[in-house]
Each structure stands twice: as structure tokens, then as C-alpha cells.
């Protein structure tokens, strides 16, 4: 337990030190991006990893919160109202999304979420009076919580880090709770869960709402990070990318989506500066992950390090008696 606490404290300190270690604004911004996409991936992982429901429409929910903030600010409202209203709108749309897609599971669920995501993308593209169509909506200023300006890359990183840590803590609590256990049960044996007295549909709906909350939070951070939102953010591509973060890092693990978000964002932004065919690189990395660590990077690394540890200690005990015989 104490080891764990020390590890958590060291990690938080390391994350706090990031903007001091890498002073270049560009890289601090990349770090902010990783954190906000990690929140998105955490939200998607609640469904994909713990509920066993693969959504290909989450970028739609992500975009709804972004557009809500941008539109409300454009209409002259303050940041506090825009953020709270965006969360509320995000949750209402999530509820509709969930009510429609939870009529199915498996492939049908994927197809319904895909279709709903495309509808939201179409709305962003065509509902020009609200979304300004392809031109998108600009956001002039970032909020000033407690009078602290978030204009600088470093302060925006700090704010994103705080939200990220709260999101990770909330997810950790959720996963270890009775509700989280029930959710995993509905993933593994829905029929049994029903016979045991659980309301399988309602449990899935609750998980969807939590997923939508995290996704909306990420969407709000995203629109403030870019100070701009356009229909691109709602594309199927964006949903697929988030899904890749979850799967490559390790679906159904707490930190897998965070690692996956880091991988995808770094490939997209950093590696693409050096390698023109970075999409090919990303594809090759995913193939390698699927071949060597089909369970994802985090659980895969744990498995490999454990077997390496075992091999090492076996080698030691095998050598020891030989060494003892020599003298």
C-alpha cells in the first residue's frame, strides 16, 4: 500500500515537473494534448474495457461539448455558464445516444454508435446557423479560474493536469466500486447477471453516462486548447483514433488508455515532423502491438516484465549451486 502511494506521489510530481523539464512551448502543448486525449480515452474505456461495448461514435459526444462551449461563448455568455451548460448538454446528448444504442450489443451496438456519431458530424457540418459549418467557431479567450490566466501553455498544462488527475481518480474509484464490479459482470455474463437480480440495461446506461461525462470534459478542454472547433473533430477518424488509444494501451485497465493517448498523440504530432509517412509508422506500431501484446501495452508490459523477472531469478538459482561447488 505504501509502495503504491509513493509511486502515485512520484508520478504526480513528475507530471507537475513536465513544463519545467521541457521548456519549449510546442512540447508543453503536446503534453497538454496527451492529457486531454487521455481523459477522452478514459471515458471511452469505461464502455469498451469495462462494459464490453465498443463505441465508434464517441467523437460525436466529444464534439457536442466543444461546440456547446464555443456557441455559448459566441452568444455572449461567460466561461462558467458555458462550461456548466456544455457539461449538461453533453450529458443530455449522451443519454439520447445511450438510449438508442443500448438496444443492441456487439456488432449492432458498434453500427448504431457509428451512425449516431455520423449524424452529429453531419449536424456540425450542415447546421450552419449554430456551427458556422465548415468554417468552424473561434473561441476568443480561455477561462480564468480563481483569477489565474490560462493563456500561457504552462498554465493551461497545469489546469489540464488537475482535471486529468481528478478524472483518473474518479475512474479508479468507479472501477473498484460495487457498481464497477456489476458493470464488469454485465460484460462477462449478462445472462447470469440478470438472473442474479441485476438490471443489466440500467447498469450499462449508468456506465454510458459516466463515459459521456469524461468525454464531454475532454471536449471542453479540447475547444479551449485549440480555441477553435470545426466538424473535423467529430469525424469517424477521431472516434477510431480514440478507440486505438484504448485498445493499444490496454482496454479494461486504468492506465492503458493514458499510455495509448500518449502513443497516438506523439506519433501524430512529433513523429510526423520527422517521418512523412507517419501514418504508416502508426499502423506498423499497432500491428506490432497486436502481434506481441494483443492485450495492449500496459498489461503486455506487465506480463513481459513478470516473465523476465521469473527467468532472471531462475537463472540465479540455477547458477548459485554451481558457484558453490567450485571452491
Amino acid at each position: 500500500m505504501i509502495d503504491r502511494r509513493i509511486a502515485i506521489a512520484v508520478t504526480i510530481l513528475a507530471l507537475l515537473a513536465v513544463p519545467y523539464a521541457i521548456t519549449e512551448v510546442y512540447y508543453v502543448n503536446i503534453a497538454s494534448q496527451i492529457l486531454l486525449y487521455a481523459i477522452f480515452a478514459l471515458g471511452l474505456n469505461v464502455l469498451v474495457g469495462y462494459a464490453g461495448l465498443v463505441s465508434l461514435g464517441h467523437a460525436g459526444l466529444f464534439g457536442v461539448a466543444s461546440y456547446a462551449v464555443a456557441s455559448l461563448l459566441a452568444a455572449g455568455h461567460g466561461h462558467a455558464i458555458a462550461i456548466l451548460a456544455a457539461l449538461a448538454i453533453g450529458l443530455v446528448v449522451t443519454a439520447g445516444f445511450a438510449a438508442l444504442s443500448l438496444r443492441a450489443t456487439g456488432i449492432s451496438f458498434i453500427m448504431i454508435t457509428l451512425a449516431l456519431g455520423e449524424i452529429l458530424w453531419g449536424l456540425a457540418y450542415r447546421w450552419i446557423s449554430v456551427t458556422n459549418g465548415d468554417n468552424g467557431v473561434n473561441v476568443a479567450t480561455r477561462p480564468m479560474p480563481f483569477g489565474i490566466a490560462l493563456t500561457a501553455a504552462r498554465s493551461f498544462y497545469d489546469a489540464t493536469l488537475i482535471v486529468f488527475l481528478v478524472a483518473v481518480a474518479a475512474t479508479a474509484i468507479f472501477v473498484r466500486s460495487p457498481f464497477g464490479a456489476a458493470l464488469c459482470g454485465t460484460r462477462d455474463q449478462p445472462r447470469r447477471m440478470n438472473a442474479l437480480g441485476y438490471h443489466v440495461w440500467m447498469i450499462r446506461f449508468g456506465a454510458f453516462m459516466f463515459s459521456g461525462l469524461l468525454t464531454s470534459i475532454a471536449g471542453i478542454l479540447f475547444v479551449y486548447y485549440n480555441q477553435f472547433i470545426s466538424p473535423q473533430a467529430l469525424q469517424l477518424n477521431a472516434s477510431a483514433e480514440a478507440l486505438l488509444m484504448v485498445i493499444s494501451g490496454g482496454a479494461g485497465t486504468l492506465l492503458g488508455p493514458v499510455v495509448g493517448a500518449g502513443l497516438v498523440v506523439i506519433m501524430k504530432n512529433v513523429v510526423s515532423a520527422y517521418i512523412e509517412r507517419w501514418n504508416f509508422m502508426l499502423g506498423a506500431i499497432f500491428v506490432a502491438i497486436v502481434v506481441f501484446m494483443p492485450e495492449g501495452l500496459v498489461p503486455g508490459a506487465v506480463r513481459l516484465s513478470r516473465s523476465a523477472w521469473r527467468a532472471m531469478s531462475r537463472a540465479k538459482t540455477a547458477v548459485a549451486p554451481v558457484a558453490g561447488r567450485k571452491p
Binding site: I173, F174, R176, S177, P178, F179, G180, A181, A182, C184, G185, D188, Q189, R191, R192, M193, N194, A195, L196, G197, Y198, H199, V200, G206, F210
Partner: protein
């Protein structure tokens, strides 16, 4: 028990009502397309009774269980649990009304520990199942109950073992532990001896004998040798119909039983 907490459905149904029938199935029909799986099935099981349902493969025994537990909806007929008509009651609510079942094909949480399997059974009837804010492992009362449920079937010493690493016989006992953990009034056992070795059969048999008489048991079983002397009354199903029903001796002696089931 968790079931008696306020806010849960039907706590106390059947209390002090020893006179009423525990489970009454009347004129139950179910077809899958053109195939009639249950035809006009009638069944009356008294409180505390041990009822054995036998019949060849495809006789509609498991379908009858699925109708009783609500996993399938009957085409017509009624199901009454301690004077309460549950024909249209959702399957999950029947667990809250005191009905528990085991599955012929093991239906457990393979990735979890034995303890987690038992915990999920208890949690299903507890309002705690909706709580997303507390740690499940810290729910002392629930965990103690889960350990007690496992002790009852002799598995508490391996409570932390992953279910995937247990033997088939142990999995069967986990199935039974989960059903018993829910403290049911009516327990439906679907072939509890299927696939077990002779030793494992003896263990499971002892387990079933030890269940107190305030639990009514309806059991499907192929293995007549092991199951026969557990039963008070026997119902013989054939092609979805009740062919013979009576005491153990009556059914065994009936020529139709020999014709249908014993293959003479």
C-alpha cells in the same frame, strides 16, 4: 438478509404462509416456431419439497426452467410463486422475490476469483450494487457473507483463486454457492451432477442434502442413481408434456416411465 431491506421488491412474500404452494405452474405453453417445447405443463411444488424433473434429451426441461425464471416468455399459461403471479414479472425481479437458479452449462465469471463470483451473487440483491463511490473490498459485511457462502460449499480455503484455475467440480460448487448465497425460497438446479466424477458427485450430493427444508428445490437431473433418493416427488417430461407425476416409488414403478426414460 439483503432481500428484506426496504426498497427491494417483494421482501417477505410467503412469510408465515406454509399452507400455500411454493411454485405453481399452470397450463404453460411455449413454442419455438413450429416446435412445441412445452405443452400444457402443470406443476405444483409444495414449500420445502424436493422435486426432481426427469426426461430424455429435448423433453423441454431446461426450457421449463427458463420459463419459470423468466429468461423466456411463455406463449400462454401462468407461473405463481408463493401466491404471487409472476408470469409477467421481469426475470431479474424474480431473483428479488426469492428465486435462484444454477445452469446446466457453467455460467460463471471466468476472469474473476471464486470470492468475486460469490460476492456478485450477494451484491445482486443488495442496494449497494448501484454504488459507484465506495470500494467493494471494504464492504466488510458483504465480504463476510461471501466467505460464509463459500465455506458452506467447502471452497473458502481457495476463495482468492481465479475461477479459470479451478476444477470442473469446484466450478459446480461455485454455481451452487452463488445460488445459495442469495438465500432463495425456491432453488432451481439444472443438472447439478452433469459432468462430475463419482467423488465430486458424492460431494455435491452431500451439499444438496444439507440444504435446510425452508428452501424448496426443483432439480433437473439425468443421473437417476445419484438424484433419485434426493427427491420427494418426481415429474417426468416427454416431448414437452408431463407424462407421469408422483412420489418416487410411483414414478419409478410406472410403466410409462420405463417406456420413456429407462428405455425398456
Amino acid at each position: 438478509m439483503a432481500r428484506d431491506e426496504p426498497g427491494e421488491n417483494g421482501g417477505g412474500a410467503g412469510r408465515g404462509a406454509q399452507a400455500m404452494t411454493a411454485l405453481a405452474v399452470a397450463s404453460l405453453n411455449k413454442s419455438f416456431g413450429g416446435l412445441r417445447v412445452n405443452t400444457n405443463v402443470n406443476l405444483k411444488v409444495e414449500p420445502g419439497e424436493r422435486r426432481l424433473i426427469i426426461g430424455p434429451n429435448g423433453a423441454g426441461k431446461t426450457t421449463l426452467f427458463n420459463l419459470i425464471t423468466g429468461e423466456l416468455v411463455p406463449d400462454s399459461g401462468s407461473i405463481v410463486l408463493f401466491d404471487r403471479d409472476i408470469t409477467r414479472v421481469a426475470s431479474r425481479k424474480r431473483a428479488h422475490l426469492g428465486m435462484a437458479r444454477t445452469y446446466q452449462i457453467i455460467t460463471l465469471f471466468a476472469h474473476d476469483s471464486i470470492l468475486r463470483n460469490a460476492t456478485l451473487a450477494l451484491l445482486g440483491l443488495s442496494p449497494l450494487r448501484w454504488n459507484p463511490l465506495v470500494a467493494l473490498e471494504r464492504q466488510q459485511h458483504l465480504m463476510a457473507q461471501a466467505h460464509a457462502a463459500l465455506k458452506r460449499v467447502g471452497l473458502d480455503h481457495i476463495a482468492d483463486r481465479p475461477l479459470a484455475e479451478t476444477s470442473y467440480g469446484e466450478k459446480r460448487r461455485v454455481e451452487i454457492a452463488m445460488a445459495l448465497a442469495q438465500n432463495p425460497k425456491v432453488l432451481l438446479l439444472d443438472e447439478p451432477f452433469a459432468g462430475l466424477s463419482i467423488d465430486e458427485r458424492r460431494d455435491v450430493r452431500e451439499l444438496l442434502v444439507a440444504i435446510p427444508r425452508d428452501v424448496t428445490i426443483v432439480m433437473i437431473e439425468h443421473d437417476m442413481d445419484t438424484a433419485l433418493d434426493l427427491a420427494d416427488r418426481i415429474t417426468l417430461l416427454h416431448f414437452g408434456e408431463v407424462i407421469v407425476e408422483g412420489t418416487r416409488a410411483e414414478v419409478v414403478a410406472d410403466p410409462r416411465t420405463r417406456e420413456v426414460y429407462l428405455g425398456e
